[in-house]
Symmetry: C2
Subunit: 329 residues, 2 copies
Protein backbone atom coordinates (compact mmCIF):
# COMPACT_ATOMS: atom_id res chain seq x y z
CA UNK A 1 0.00 0.00 0.00
CA UNK A 2 2.73 2.37 0.98
CA UNK A 3 4.82 1.46 -2.08
CA UNK A 4 1.76 1.87 -4.29
CA UNK A 5 1.11 5.42 -3.18
CA UNK A 6 4.79 6.23 -3.42
CA UNK A 7 4.78 5.00 -7.00
CA UNK A 8 1.68 7.00 -7.74
CA UNK A 9 3.26 10.10 -6.26
CA UNK A 10 6.39 9.60 -8.36
CA UNK A 11 4.29 9.11 -11.45
CA UNK A 12 2.40 12.35 -10.85
CA UNK A 13 5.66 14.18 -10.17
CA UNK A 14 7.22 12.84 -13.38
CA UNK A 15 4.19 13.85 -15.46
CA UNK A 16 4.64 17.32 -16.93
CA UNK A 17 2.01 19.69 -15.52
CA UNK A 18 0.74 20.48 -19.01
CA UNK A 19 -0.06 16.83 -19.60
CA UNK A 20 -1.88 16.59 -16.30
CA UNK A 21 -4.00 19.53 -17.33
CA UNK A 22 -4.45 18.42 -20.92
CA UNK A 23 -6.53 15.54 -19.67
CA UNK A 24 -9.26 18.03 -18.75
CA UNK A 25 -11.40 19.89 -21.28
CA UNK A 26 -10.85 23.09 -19.34
CA UNK A 27 -7.49 24.77 -18.81
CA UNK A 28 -6.56 27.18 -16.05
CA UNK A 29 -6.56 30.86 -16.92
CA UNK A 30 -3.13 32.40 -17.28
CA UNK A 31 -2.35 35.83 -15.90
CA UNK A 32 -1.81 38.41 -18.63
CA UNK A 33 1.49 40.26 -18.99
CA UNK A 34 0.83 43.34 -21.12
CA UNK A 35 3.46 44.15 -23.74
CA UNK A 36 2.84 47.89 -23.45
CA UNK A 37 1.75 48.94 -19.94
CA UNK A 38 1.39 52.57 -21.03
CA UNK A 39 -1.12 51.50 -23.66
CA UNK A 40 -3.01 49.62 -20.96
CA UNK A 41 -3.05 52.70 -18.70
CA UNK A 42 -4.45 54.78 -21.56
CA UNK A 43 -7.03 52.11 -22.33
CA UNK A 44 -8.09 52.00 -18.70
CA UNK A 45 -8.72 55.76 -18.67
CA UNK A 46 -10.71 55.51 -21.90
CA UNK A 47 -12.68 52.55 -20.54
CA UNK A 48 -13.80 54.66 -17.58
CA UNK A 49 -14.31 57.89 -19.52
CA UNK A 50 -17.98 58.82 -20.06
CA UNK A 51 -16.92 61.58 -22.42
CA UNK A 52 -16.83 58.91 -25.12
CA UNK A 53 -20.65 59.08 -25.00
CA UNK A 54 -23.01 61.78 -26.26
CA UNK A 55 -24.37 62.30 -22.75
CA UNK A 56 -21.04 62.41 -20.98
CA UNK A 57 -22.61 59.89 -18.61
CA UNK A 58 -22.04 56.42 -20.07
CA UNK A 59 -18.63 54.77 -20.21
CA UNK A 60 -17.58 51.23 -21.12
CA UNK A 61 -17.61 50.58 -17.39
CA UNK A 62 -21.30 51.54 -17.12
CA UNK A 63 -22.45 48.28 -18.71
CA UNK A 64 -19.28 46.23 -18.24
CA UNK A 65 -18.78 47.28 -14.64
CA UNK A 66 -15.50 45.94 -13.31
CA UNK A 67 -16.82 46.11 -9.75
CA UNK A 68 -19.53 43.63 -10.76
CA UNK A 69 -17.96 40.84 -12.79
CA UNK A 70 -17.58 42.99 -15.89
CA UNK A 71 -21.35 43.22 -16.42
CA UNK A 72 -24.22 45.49 -15.36
CA UNK A 73 -26.17 42.70 -13.69
CA UNK A 74 -29.27 43.78 -15.59
CA UNK A 75 -31.33 41.68 -17.99
CA UNK A 76 -30.61 44.09 -20.80
CA UNK A 77 -28.60 47.26 -20.57
CA UNK A 78 -29.56 50.90 -20.17
CA UNK A 79 -28.36 53.07 -23.03
CA UNK A 80 -28.50 56.73 -23.97
CA UNK A 81 -31.74 58.38 -22.89
CA UNK A 82 -32.52 55.25 -20.82
CA UNK A 83 -33.13 53.16 -23.91
CA UNK A 84 -33.54 49.48 -23.19
CA UNK A 85 -30.92 47.39 -24.94
CA UNK A 86 -31.96 44.32 -26.92
CA UNK A 87 -29.60 41.84 -25.27
CA UNK A 88 -27.75 41.00 -22.06
CA UNK A 89 -24.36 42.69 -21.71
CA UNK A 90 -21.74 39.92 -21.79
CA UNK A 91 -18.90 40.11 -19.31
CA UNK A 92 -15.71 41.77 -20.43
CA UNK A 93 -13.73 39.50 -18.09
CA UNK A 94 -11.70 36.96 -20.06
CA UNK A 95 -13.35 38.22 -23.24
CA UNK A 96 -9.96 38.28 -24.97
CA UNK A 97 -10.32 34.49 -25.16
CA UNK A 98 -13.53 34.64 -27.22
CA UNK A 99 -13.18 33.60 -30.85
CA UNK A 100 -15.31 36.66 -31.69
CA UNK A 101 -17.15 39.41 -29.80
CA UNK A 102 -20.85 40.14 -29.16
CA UNK A 103 -23.41 37.36 -28.76
CA UNK A 104 -23.62 36.97 -32.52
CA UNK A 105 -19.87 37.27 -33.07
CA UNK A 106 -20.26 40.26 -35.37
CA UNK A 107 -16.96 41.78 -34.19
CA UNK A 108 -13.80 39.81 -34.87
CA UNK A 109 -11.96 40.96 -31.79
CA UNK A 110 -11.93 43.31 -28.80
CA UNK A 111 -10.58 46.19 -30.87
CA UNK A 112 -13.46 45.94 -33.33
CA UNK A 113 -15.94 45.49 -30.48
CA UNK A 114 -14.77 48.59 -28.62
CA UNK A 115 -15.85 50.89 -31.43
CA UNK A 116 -19.39 49.48 -31.49
CA UNK A 117 -21.08 50.86 -28.38
CA UNK A 118 -19.53 54.33 -28.78
CA UNK A 119 -21.36 54.84 -32.06
CA UNK A 120 -24.47 52.76 -31.32
CA UNK A 121 -27.46 55.17 -31.04
CA UNK A 122 -28.99 52.91 -28.38
CA UNK A 123 -25.86 52.75 -26.26
CA UNK A 124 -23.37 55.62 -26.05
CA UNK A 125 -25.03 57.37 -28.99
CA UNK A 126 -21.89 59.21 -30.06
CA UNK A 127 -19.80 59.13 -33.21
CA UNK A 128 -16.19 58.10 -33.54
CA UNK A 129 -15.37 61.54 -34.91
CA UNK A 130 -16.90 63.37 -31.96
CA UNK A 131 -15.30 61.03 -29.43
CA UNK A 132 -11.91 61.66 -31.03
CA UNK A 133 -12.58 65.42 -31.04
CA UNK A 134 -13.22 65.29 -27.30
CA UNK A 135 -9.96 63.46 -26.66
CA UNK A 136 -7.98 65.77 -28.96
CA UNK A 137 -9.13 68.76 -26.93
CA UNK A 138 -7.52 67.40 -23.77
CA UNK A 139 -3.73 67.87 -23.77
CA UNK A 140 -3.23 65.28 -21.02
CA UNK A 141 -4.73 62.66 -23.30
CA UNK A 142 -2.33 63.78 -26.02
CA UNK A 143 0.54 63.05 -23.66
CA UNK A 144 -0.90 59.65 -22.81
CA UNK A 145 -1.30 58.76 -26.50
CA UNK A 146 2.27 59.89 -27.13
CA UNK A 147 3.58 57.72 -24.29
CA UNK A 148 1.59 54.75 -25.54
CA UNK A 149 2.06 55.09 -29.31
CA UNK A 150 5.13 57.26 -29.81
CA UNK A 151 3.19 60.17 -31.30
CA UNK A 152 0.28 62.11 -29.85
CA UNK A 153 -1.95 61.54 -32.86
CA UNK A 154 -5.42 60.52 -31.73
CA UNK A 155 -7.78 58.55 -33.95
CA UNK A 156 -10.44 55.91 -33.39
CA UNK A 157 -8.02 53.17 -34.40
CA UNK A 158 -5.73 54.08 -31.52
CA UNK A 159 -8.63 54.59 -29.12
CA UNK A 160 -9.93 51.09 -29.75
CA UNK A 161 -6.39 49.64 -29.71
CA UNK A 162 -5.90 51.07 -26.24
CA UNK A 163 -9.29 49.92 -24.90
CA UNK A 164 -8.63 46.43 -26.26
CA UNK A 165 -5.15 46.37 -24.70
CA UNK A 166 -6.71 47.22 -21.33
CA UNK A 167 -9.44 44.62 -21.79
CA UNK A 168 -6.82 41.98 -22.53
CA UNK A 169 -5.55 42.44 -18.98
CA UNK A 170 -9.00 41.60 -17.58
CA UNK A 171 -8.42 37.91 -17.07
CA UNK A 172 -9.32 36.20 -13.83
CA UNK A 173 -6.79 33.52 -12.90
CA UNK A 174 -6.51 31.63 -9.62
CA UNK A 175 -10.11 30.56 -9.18
CA UNK A 176 -10.49 27.64 -6.79
CA UNK A 177 -11.23 25.43 -9.79
CA UNK A 178 -7.99 26.50 -11.44
CA UNK A 179 -6.08 25.81 -8.25
CA UNK A 180 -7.68 22.38 -8.25
CA UNK A 181 -6.83 21.85 -11.93
CA UNK A 182 -3.23 22.69 -11.13
CA UNK A 183 -3.13 19.98 -8.52
CA UNK A 184 -4.30 21.54 -5.26
CA UNK A 185 -7.00 18.99 -4.51
CA UNK A 186 -7.95 20.81 -1.31
CA UNK A 187 -9.11 23.82 -3.30
CA UNK A 188 -12.52 22.23 -3.93
CA UNK A 189 -14.97 20.39 -1.71
CA UNK A 190 -16.27 16.93 -2.52
CA UNK A 191 -19.58 18.39 -3.66
CA UNK A 192 -17.84 20.84 -5.97
CA UNK A 193 -15.73 18.06 -7.51
CA UNK A 194 -18.86 15.96 -7.94
CA UNK A 195 -20.46 18.91 -9.66
CA UNK A 196 -17.51 19.21 -12.02
CA UNK A 197 -17.63 15.50 -12.85
CA UNK A 198 -21.34 15.71 -13.59
CA UNK A 199 -20.79 18.89 -15.62
CA UNK A 200 -18.17 17.09 -17.68
CA UNK A 201 -19.85 13.69 -17.93
CA UNK A 202 -23.25 15.01 -18.91
CA UNK A 203 -21.82 16.98 -21.82
CA UNK A 204 -21.65 20.62 -20.69
CA UNK A 205 -18.01 20.73 -21.73
CA UNK A 206 -19.04 20.03 -25.33
CA UNK A 207 -19.63 23.78 -25.49
CA UNK A 208 -18.14 25.19 -22.30
CA UNK A 209 -14.52 24.17 -22.86
CA UNK A 210 -11.18 25.92 -23.04
CA UNK A 211 -9.77 28.25 -20.41
CA UNK A 212 -12.79 30.58 -20.60
CA UNK A 213 -15.24 27.66 -20.59
CA UNK A 214 -17.05 29.07 -23.58
CA UNK A 215 -16.53 31.64 -26.28
CA UNK A 216 -15.19 29.03 -28.74
CA UNK A 217 -18.27 28.20 -30.81
CA UNK A 218 -21.74 29.28 -31.83
CA UNK A 219 -24.53 27.02 -30.67
CA UNK A 220 -28.27 26.98 -31.01
CA UNK A 221 -30.06 28.05 -27.83
CA UNK A 222 -32.69 25.32 -27.53
CA UNK A 223 -31.21 22.28 -29.26
CA UNK A 224 -33.58 19.71 -27.81
CA UNK A 225 -36.47 21.93 -26.83
CA UNK A 226 -37.26 25.51 -27.72
CA UNK A 227 -36.20 28.32 -25.39
CA UNK A 228 -39.19 30.29 -24.17
CA UNK A 229 -38.24 33.97 -24.38
CA UNK A 230 -39.79 37.37 -24.89
CA UNK A 231 -36.63 38.54 -26.67
CA UNK A 232 -36.87 39.26 -30.38
CA UNK A 233 -33.16 38.71 -30.91
CA UNK A 234 -32.39 35.99 -33.46
CA UNK A 235 -28.68 35.49 -32.89
CA UNK A 236 -26.38 34.82 -35.83
CA UNK A 237 -29.40 34.75 -38.16
CA UNK A 238 -29.66 38.50 -37.59
CA UNK A 239 -26.39 38.79 -39.53
CA UNK A 240 -26.64 35.98 -42.07
CA UNK A 241 -30.38 35.90 -42.63
CA UNK A 242 -30.11 32.12 -42.68
CA UNK A 243 -32.85 30.18 -40.98
CA UNK A 244 -30.27 27.63 -39.79
CA UNK A 245 -28.65 30.41 -37.73
CA UNK A 246 -31.82 31.30 -35.84
CA UNK A 247 -31.13 31.34 -32.07
CA UNK A 248 -27.48 30.58 -32.63
CA UNK A 249 -25.36 32.50 -30.16
CA UNK A 250 -21.76 32.48 -29.09
CA UNK A 251 -21.46 30.18 -26.09
CA UNK A 252 -20.89 32.48 -23.11
CA UNK A 253 -17.96 32.01 -20.76
CA UNK A 254 -18.77 30.42 -17.41
CA UNK A 255 -15.85 32.03 -15.64
CA UNK A 256 -17.06 34.22 -12.73
CA UNK A 257 -20.58 33.10 -13.51
CA UNK A 258 -21.64 33.70 -9.92
CA UNK A 259 -21.05 37.40 -10.59
CA UNK A 260 -22.44 37.68 -14.13
CA UNK A 261 -26.16 37.16 -13.47
CA UNK A 262 -28.73 37.37 -14.96
CA UNK A 263 -28.14 34.63 -17.51
CA UNK A 264 -28.66 33.88 -21.22
CA UNK A 265 -28.84 36.32 -24.09
CA UNK A 266 -32.11 37.73 -22.81
CA UNK A 267 -30.92 37.96 -19.21
CA UNK A 268 -34.22 36.41 -18.16
CA UNK A 269 -32.84 33.89 -15.67
CA UNK A 270 -31.51 35.14 -12.35
CA UNK A 271 -30.39 32.02 -10.53
CA UNK A 272 -27.73 29.48 -11.42
CA UNK A 273 -30.09 26.71 -10.37
CA UNK A 274 -32.64 27.72 -12.99
CA UNK A 275 -29.94 28.27 -15.60
CA UNK A 276 -28.50 24.78 -15.06
CA UNK A 277 -31.96 23.24 -15.16
CA UNK A 278 -32.77 24.98 -18.44
CA UNK A 279 -29.44 24.08 -20.03
CA UNK A 280 -29.94 20.44 -19.05
CA UNK A 281 -33.41 20.21 -20.56
CA UNK A 282 -32.92 22.42 -23.63
CA UNK A 283 -29.37 21.57 -24.68
CA UNK A 284 -28.84 18.07 -23.32
CA UNK A 285 -32.34 16.66 -23.09
CA UNK A 286 -31.62 15.79 -19.50
CA UNK A 287 -33.57 16.62 -16.40
CA UNK A 288 -31.10 17.12 -13.58
CA UNK A 289 -32.32 16.27 -10.09
CA UNK A 290 -32.31 18.97 -7.43
CA UNK A 291 -29.23 17.36 -5.87
CA UNK A 292 -27.43 17.26 -9.21
CA UNK A 293 -28.25 20.91 -9.86
CA UNK A 294 -26.94 21.79 -6.40
CA UNK A 295 -23.68 19.99 -7.16
CA UNK A 296 -23.21 21.71 -10.51
CA UNK A 297 -24.04 25.11 -9.02
CA UNK A 298 -21.53 24.47 -6.22
CA UNK A 299 -18.96 23.73 -8.93
CA UNK A 300 -19.87 26.82 -10.95
CA UNK A 301 -19.22 28.98 -7.90
CA UNK A 302 -15.60 27.78 -7.83
CA UNK A 303 -15.07 29.53 -11.17
CA UNK A 304 -14.76 33.00 -9.64
CA UNK A 305 -11.18 34.08 -10.19
CA UNK A 306 -9.04 37.03 -9.21
CA UNK A 307 -11.04 40.14 -10.02
CA UNK A 308 -9.60 43.31 -11.60
CA UNK A 309 -7.07 44.76 -9.21
CA UNK A 310 -6.07 48.34 -9.98
CA UNK A 311 -6.57 51.86 -8.77
CA UNK A 312 -9.57 53.84 -9.88
CA UNK A 313 -8.24 55.93 -12.77
CA UNK A 314 -8.34 59.71 -12.43
CA UNK A 315 -9.40 61.21 -15.73
CA UNK A 316 -7.74 64.28 -17.21
CA UNK A 317 -10.11 67.24 -17.06
CA UNK A 318 -11.72 68.75 -20.12
CA UNK A 319 -10.53 72.13 -21.33
CA UNK A 320 -12.27 75.22 -22.67
CA UNK A 321 -11.93 73.66 -26.11
CA UNK A 322 -13.62 70.36 -25.23
CA UNK A 323 -16.98 69.80 -26.93
CA UNK A 324 -19.64 69.66 -24.22
CA UNK A 325 -21.83 66.67 -23.51
CA UNK A 326 -25.45 66.92 -24.61
CA UNK A 327 -27.37 64.46 -22.43
CA UNK A 328 -30.80 65.98 -22.96
CA UNK A 329 -30.75 66.90 -26.63
CA UNK B 1 22.29 92.85 2.49
CA UNK B 2 23.60 89.38 3.25
CA UNK B 3 22.96 89.83 6.97
CA UNK B 4 19.48 91.12 6.24
CA UNK B 5 18.46 88.00 4.32
CA UNK B 6 20.08 85.82 6.96
CA UNK B 7 18.01 87.55 9.62
CA UNK B 8 14.90 87.14 7.51
CA UNK B 9 15.61 83.45 7.06
CA UNK B 10 16.10 83.01 10.80
CA UNK B 11 12.88 84.89 11.49
CA UNK B 12 10.92 82.64 9.13
CA UNK B 13 12.50 79.55 10.67
CA UNK B 14 11.64 80.76 14.18
CA UNK B 15 8.02 81.45 13.25
CA UNK B 16 5.78 78.45 13.97
CA UNK B 17 4.32 77.09 10.73
CA UNK B 18 0.78 77.53 12.01
CA UNK B 19 1.32 81.25 12.50
CA UNK B 20 2.69 81.63 9.01
CA UNK B 21 -0.44 79.98 7.69
CA UNK B 22 -2.83 81.82 9.96
CA UNK B 23 -1.99 85.03 8.12
CA UNK B 24 -3.86 83.67 5.07
CA UNK B 25 -7.65 83.34 4.82
CA UNK B 26 -7.20 79.86 3.36
CA UNK B 27 -5.61 76.96 5.19
CA UNK B 28 -4.01 73.88 3.61
CA UNK B 29 -6.13 70.74 3.51
CA UNK B 30 -5.11 68.09 5.98
CA UNK B 31 -5.01 64.42 5.03
CA UNK B 32 -7.75 62.41 6.72
CA UNK B 33 -6.92 59.51 9.04
CA UNK B 34 -10.06 57.40 9.39
CA UNK B 35 -10.86 56.12 12.88
CA UNK B 36 -12.47 52.97 11.52
CA UNK B 37 -10.88 51.78 8.24
CA UNK B 38 -13.33 48.86 8.01
CA UNK B 39 -16.22 51.31 8.07
CA UNK B 40 -14.53 53.23 5.27
CA UNK B 41 -14.11 50.05 3.21
CA UNK B 42 -17.80 49.27 3.65
CA UNK B 43 -18.75 52.82 2.76
CA UNK B 44 -16.62 52.66 -0.37
CA UNK B 45 -18.41 49.52 -1.56
CA UNK B 46 -21.80 51.14 -0.87
CA UNK B 47 -20.71 54.32 -2.65
CA UNK B 48 -19.97 52.30 -5.80
CA UNK B 49 -22.96 49.96 -5.52
CA UNK B 50 -25.74 50.68 -8.06
CA UNK B 51 -27.98 48.22 -6.23
CA UNK B 52 -28.87 51.09 -3.91
CA UNK B 53 -30.95 52.40 -6.83
CA UNK B 54 -34.25 51.13 -8.25
CA UNK B 55 -32.62 50.54 -11.63
CA UNK B 56 -29.52 48.81 -10.35
CA UNK B 57 -27.65 51.26 -12.59
CA UNK B 58 -27.06 54.43 -10.58
CA UNK B 59 -24.62 54.61 -7.68
CA UNK B 60 -23.32 57.55 -5.65
CA UNK B 61 -20.34 57.43 -7.98
CA UNK B 62 -22.55 57.97 -11.04
CA UNK B 63 -23.07 61.65 -10.25
CA UNK B 64 -20.18 62.18 -7.85
CA UNK B 65 -17.65 60.38 -10.01
CA UNK B 66 -14.35 60.04 -8.21
CA UNK B 67 -12.53 59.72 -11.54
CA UNK B 68 -13.79 63.21 -12.40
CA UNK B 69 -13.32 65.48 -9.42
CA UNK B 70 -16.24 63.98 -7.51
CA UNK B 71 -18.78 65.37 -9.98
CA UNK B 72 -20.48 64.25 -13.20
CA UNK B 73 -19.22 67.22 -15.22
CA UNK B 74 -22.77 67.81 -16.44
CA UNK B 75 -24.83 70.97 -16.02
CA UNK B 76 -27.46 69.05 -14.11
CA UNK B 77 -27.44 65.35 -13.36
CA UNK B 78 -29.10 62.38 -15.01
CA UNK B 79 -31.41 60.49 -12.67
CA UNK B 80 -33.61 57.39 -12.86
CA UNK B 81 -35.22 57.00 -16.26
CA UNK B 82 -32.92 59.74 -17.60
CA UNK B 83 -34.71 62.42 -15.62
CA UNK B 84 -32.96 65.78 -15.71
CA UNK B 85 -31.98 66.96 -12.25
CA UNK B 86 -32.78 70.50 -11.16
CA UNK B 87 -29.30 71.50 -10.03
CA UNK B 88 -25.60 70.91 -10.62
CA UNK B 89 -24.13 68.00 -8.65
CA UNK B 90 -21.65 69.49 -6.17
CA UNK B 91 -18.33 67.74 -5.73
CA UNK B 92 -18.05 65.19 -2.95
CA UNK B 93 -14.35 66.02 -2.61
CA UNK B 94 -13.67 67.88 0.65
CA UNK B 95 -17.43 67.99 1.27
CA UNK B 96 -16.85 66.93 4.88
CA UNK B 97 -15.69 70.51 5.45
CA UNK B 98 -19.02 72.02 4.40
CA UNK B 99 -21.09 73.51 7.22
CA UNK B 100 -24.09 71.75 5.62
CA UNK B 101 -24.79 69.64 2.52
CA UNK B 102 -26.66 70.31 -0.76
CA UNK B 103 -26.66 73.75 -2.39
CA UNK B 104 -29.40 74.88 -0.01
CA UNK B 105 -27.85 73.25 3.05
CA UNK B 106 -30.94 71.14 3.71
CA UNK B 107 -28.87 68.24 5.08
CA UNK B 108 -26.86 68.91 8.22
CA UNK B 109 -24.01 66.58 7.34
CA UNK B 110 -22.73 63.88 4.99
CA UNK B 111 -24.65 61.16 6.79
CA UNK B 112 -27.95 62.98 6.31
CA UNK B 113 -27.04 63.82 2.72
CA UNK B 114 -26.24 60.21 1.81
CA UNK B 115 -29.81 59.11 2.41
CA UNK B 116 -31.26 61.77 0.12
CA UNK B 117 -30.44 60.62 -3.41
CA UNK B 118 -31.26 56.96 -2.67
CA UNK B 119 -34.88 57.84 -1.97
CA UNK B 120 -35.22 60.78 -4.36
CA UNK B 121 -37.61 59.73 -7.18
CA UNK B 122 -35.63 61.88 -9.62
CA UNK B 123 -32.27 60.40 -8.68
CA UNK B 124 -31.86 56.79 -7.52
CA UNK B 125 -35.64 56.41 -7.13
CA UNK B 126 -35.41 53.71 -4.48
CA UNK B 127 -36.56 53.56 -0.86
CA UNK B 128 -34.38 53.14 2.19
CA UNK B 129 -36.31 49.96 3.05
CA UNK B 130 -35.69 48.36 -0.35
CA UNK B 131 -32.03 49.37 -0.37
CA UNK B 132 -31.58 47.78 3.04
CA UNK B 133 -33.44 44.66 1.84
CA UNK B 134 -30.98 44.32 -1.03
CA UNK B 135 -27.99 44.57 1.30
CA UNK B 136 -29.51 42.16 3.81
CA UNK B 137 -29.83 39.52 1.10
CA UNK B 138 -26.08 39.53 0.47
CA UNK B 139 -24.16 37.62 3.17
CA UNK B 140 -20.84 39.23 2.24
CA UNK B 141 -22.33 42.61 3.09
CA UNK B 142 -23.45 41.16 6.42
CA UNK B 143 -19.84 40.26 7.14
CA UNK B 144 -18.67 43.72 6.16
CA UNK B 145 -21.26 45.36 8.44
CA UNK B 146 -20.19 43.07 11.25
CA UNK B 147 -16.53 43.98 10.78
CA UNK B 148 -17.38 47.67 10.68
CA UNK B 149 -20.03 47.87 13.42
CA UNK B 150 -19.55 44.81 15.59
CA UNK B 151 -22.86 43.22 14.57
CA UNK B 152 -24.16 42.36 11.13
CA UNK B 153 -27.39 44.31 11.56
CA UNK B 154 -28.07 46.39 8.47
CA UNK B 155 -30.21 49.50 8.55
CA UNK B 156 -30.23 52.82 6.73
CA UNK B 157 -28.58 54.52 9.69
CA UNK B 158 -25.56 52.28 9.32
CA UNK B 159 -25.59 52.49 5.53
CA UNK B 160 -25.39 56.28 5.64
CA UNK B 161 -22.84 56.17 8.49
CA UNK B 162 -20.59 54.04 6.31
CA UNK B 163 -21.01 56.15 3.17
CA UNK B 164 -20.28 59.30 5.19
CA UNK B 165 -17.19 57.68 6.74
CA UNK B 166 -15.90 56.91 3.25
CA UNK B 167 -16.73 60.41 2.01
CA UNK B 168 -14.78 61.91 4.92
CA UNK B 169 -11.66 60.33 3.45
CA UNK B 170 -12.19 62.17 0.17
CA UNK B 171 -10.05 65.17 0.94
CA UNK B 172 -7.48 66.46 -1.52
CA UNK B 173 -4.34 67.69 0.22
CA UNK B 174 -1.02 68.67 -1.37
CA UNK B 175 -2.26 70.97 -4.11
CA UNK B 176 0.42 73.27 -5.40
CA UNK B 177 -1.32 76.12 -3.58
CA UNK B 178 -1.16 74.20 -0.31
CA UNK B 179 2.51 73.48 -0.86
CA UNK B 180 2.98 77.20 -1.40
CA UNK B 181 0.97 78.02 1.72
CA UNK B 182 3.21 75.69 3.69
CA UNK B 183 6.26 77.61 2.58
CA UNK B 184 7.38 76.07 -0.72
CA UNK B 185 7.42 79.28 -2.70
CA UNK B 186 8.54 77.43 -5.83
CA UNK B 187 5.26 75.55 -5.95
CA UNK B 188 3.53 78.44 -7.74
CA UNK B 189 4.54 80.64 -10.65
CA UNK B 190 4.60 84.41 -10.43
CA UNK B 191 1.35 84.61 -12.40
CA UNK B 192 -0.35 82.16 -10.05
CA UNK B 193 0.79 84.12 -6.98
CA UNK B 194 -0.42 87.33 -8.63
CA UNK B 195 -3.74 85.62 -9.23
CA UNK B 196 -3.97 84.62 -5.58
CA UNK B 197 -3.19 88.17 -4.44
CA UNK B 198 -5.85 89.58 -6.72
CA UNK B 199 -8.29 86.88 -5.57
CA UNK B 200 -7.64 87.87 -1.98
CA UNK B 201 -7.40 91.63 -2.42
CA UNK B 202 -10.52 91.95 -4.52
CA UNK B 203 -12.65 90.18 -1.94
CA UNK B 204 -13.16 86.63 -3.24
CA UNK B 205 -11.96 85.28 0.10
CA UNK B 206 -14.89 86.98 1.83
CA UNK B 207 -16.84 83.86 0.79
CA UNK B 208 -14.21 81.42 -0.46
CA UNK B 209 -12.23 81.03 2.75
CA UNK B 210 -11.22 78.16 5.02
CA UNK B 211 -9.42 75.02 3.90
CA UNK B 212 -12.14 74.15 1.37
CA UNK B 213 -12.33 77.76 0.11
CA UNK B 214 -16.10 77.74 0.47
CA UNK B 215 -18.82 75.73 2.13
CA UNK B 216 -18.85 78.01 5.19
CA UNK B 217 -21.72 80.36 4.44
CA UNK B 218 -24.82 80.95 2.34
CA UNK B 219 -24.61 83.88 -0.04
CA UNK B 220 -26.90 85.44 -2.54
CA UNK B 221 -25.97 84.60 -6.12
CA UNK B 222 -26.13 88.03 -7.76
CA UNK B 223 -25.40 90.51 -4.98
CA UNK B 224 -24.62 93.49 -7.18
CA UNK B 225 -26.38 92.43 -10.35
CA UNK B 226 -28.89 89.68 -11.02
CA UNK B 227 -27.70 86.30 -12.29
CA UNK B 228 -29.22 85.48 -15.65
CA UNK B 229 -30.31 81.84 -15.49
CA UNK B 230 -32.87 79.47 -16.94
CA UNK B 231 -32.90 77.51 -13.68
CA UNK B 232 -36.05 77.63 -11.58
CA UNK B 233 -34.17 76.77 -8.39
CA UNK B 234 -34.57 79.41 -5.67
CA UNK B 235 -31.89 78.29 -3.22
CA UNK B 236 -32.50 78.53 0.52
CA UNK B 237 -35.86 80.22 -0.17
CA UNK B 238 -37.07 76.84 -1.42
CA UNK B 239 -36.79 75.65 2.18
CA UNK B 240 -37.68 78.75 4.18
CA UNK B 241 -40.13 80.41 1.82
CA UNK B 242 -38.52 83.72 2.75
CA UNK B 243 -38.01 86.24 0.01
CA UNK B 244 -34.71 87.26 1.58
CA UNK B 245 -33.42 83.76 0.94
CA UNK B 246 -34.12 83.83 -2.80
CA UNK B 247 -31.02 82.81 -4.75
CA UNK B 248 -29.09 82.18 -1.58
CA UNK B 249 -26.84 79.16 -1.99
CA UNK B 250 -24.09 77.56 -0.05
CA UNK B 251 -20.81 78.94 -1.35
CA UNK B 252 -19.21 76.09 -3.30
CA UNK B 253 -15.67 74.94 -2.60
CA UNK B 254 -13.04 76.05 -5.08
CA UNK B 255 -10.77 73.12 -4.37
CA UNK B 256 -10.15 71.08 -7.57
CA UNK B 257 -12.23 73.63 -9.43
CA UNK B 258 -10.40 72.82 -12.68
CA UNK B 259 -12.05 69.38 -12.48
CA UNK B 260 -15.52 70.35 -11.25
CA UNK B 261 -16.87 72.15 -14.31
CA UNK B 262 -19.47 73.24 -15.26
CA UNK B 263 -19.94 75.97 -12.67
CA UNK B 264 -22.66 77.55 -10.51
CA UNK B 265 -25.83 75.95 -9.22
CA UNK B 266 -27.26 75.73 -12.72
CA UNK B 267 -24.04 74.39 -14.23
CA UNK B 268 -24.47 76.87 -17.04
CA UNK B 269 -20.91 78.14 -17.18
CA UNK B 270 -18.21 75.87 -18.59
CA UNK B 271 -15.03 77.90 -18.39
CA UNK B 272 -13.22 79.29 -15.38
CA UNK B 273 -12.65 82.52 -17.29
CA UNK B 274 -16.37 83.11 -17.64
CA UNK B 275 -17.03 82.05 -14.05
CA UNK B 276 -14.46 84.52 -12.70
CA UNK B 277 -15.83 87.27 -14.90
CA UNK B 278 -19.38 86.65 -13.69
CA UNK B 279 -18.35 86.44 -10.04
CA UNK B 280 -16.48 89.73 -10.36
CA UNK B 281 -19.38 91.57 -11.89
CA UNK B 282 -22.25 89.99 -9.94
CA UNK B 283 -20.73 89.56 -6.49
CA UNK B 284 -18.05 92.25 -6.32
CA UNK B 285 -19.27 94.86 -8.80
CA UNK B 286 -15.89 94.68 -10.45
CA UNK B 287 -15.01 94.14 -14.05
CA UNK B 288 -11.76 92.16 -14.16
CA UNK B 289 -9.54 92.76 -17.18
CA UNK B 290 -8.65 89.83 -19.40
CA UNK B 291 -5.16 89.76 -17.87
CA UNK B 292 -6.61 89.78 -14.34
CA UNK B 293 -8.97 86.92 -15.21
CA UNK B 294 -6.06 84.96 -16.66
CA UNK B 295 -4.11 85.45 -13.42
CA UNK B 296 -7.00 84.35 -11.20
CA UNK B 297 -7.69 81.32 -13.42
CA UNK B 298 -4.01 80.38 -13.28
CA UNK B 299 -4.27 80.55 -9.48
CA UNK B 300 -7.48 78.49 -9.42
CA UNK B 301 -5.73 75.73 -11.33
CA UNK B 302 -3.22 75.39 -8.49
CA UNK B 303 -6.06 74.21 -6.25
CA UNK B 304 -6.13 70.69 -7.66
CA UNK B 305 -5.00 68.41 -4.86
CA UNK B 306 -4.25 64.74 -4.48
CA UNK B 307 -7.20 62.87 -5.99
CA UNK B 308 -8.80 59.75 -4.48
CA UNK B 309 -6.21 57.01 -4.45
CA UNK B 310 -7.64 53.54 -3.90
CA UNK B 311 -8.41 50.36 -5.70
CA UNK B 312 -11.66 49.94 -7.55
CA UNK B 313 -13.88 48.09 -5.07
CA UNK B 314 -15.15 44.66 -6.08
CA UNK B 315 -18.77 44.34 -4.98
CA UNK B 316 -20.14 41.19 -3.37
CA UNK B 317 -22.52 39.42 -5.78
CA UNK B 318 -26.26 39.28 -5.25
CA UNK B 319 -27.81 36.00 -4.21
CA UNK B 320 -30.96 34.16 -5.21
CA UNK B 321 -32.70 36.08 -2.42
CA UNK B 322 -31.68 39.53 -3.62
CA UNK B 323 -34.57 41.68 -4.89
CA UNK B 324 -33.99 42.34 -8.57
CA UNK B 325 -33.50 45.76 -10.09
CA UNK B 326 -36.41 47.17 -12.08
CA UNK B 327 -34.89 49.71 -14.46
CA UNK B 328 -37.76 49.80 -16.93
CA UNK B 329 -40.80 49.64 -14.65
Amino acid sequence: MKIKSLLAALLVAALPMSQGIAAEPIEPIKAHKPKNPKLVELGKALYFDPRLSKSGFISCNSCHNLSMGGTDNLSTSIGHNWQQGPINAPTVLNSSMNMAQFWDGRAADLKEQAGGPIANPGEMAFTHELAVDVLKSIPQYGTMFKTAFGTNEINIDRVTDAIAAFEETLVTPDSRFDQWLKGNKKAMTKQEVNGYKLFKDSGCTACHYGPAMGGQSFQKMGLVAEYDTKSKVEGVAGLTGKDADRMKFKVPTLRNVEMTYPYFHDGAVWTLEEAVDIMGRLQLGREYSKAEIADIVAFLKTLTGKQPDFKLPILPPSTNATPRPTPFE
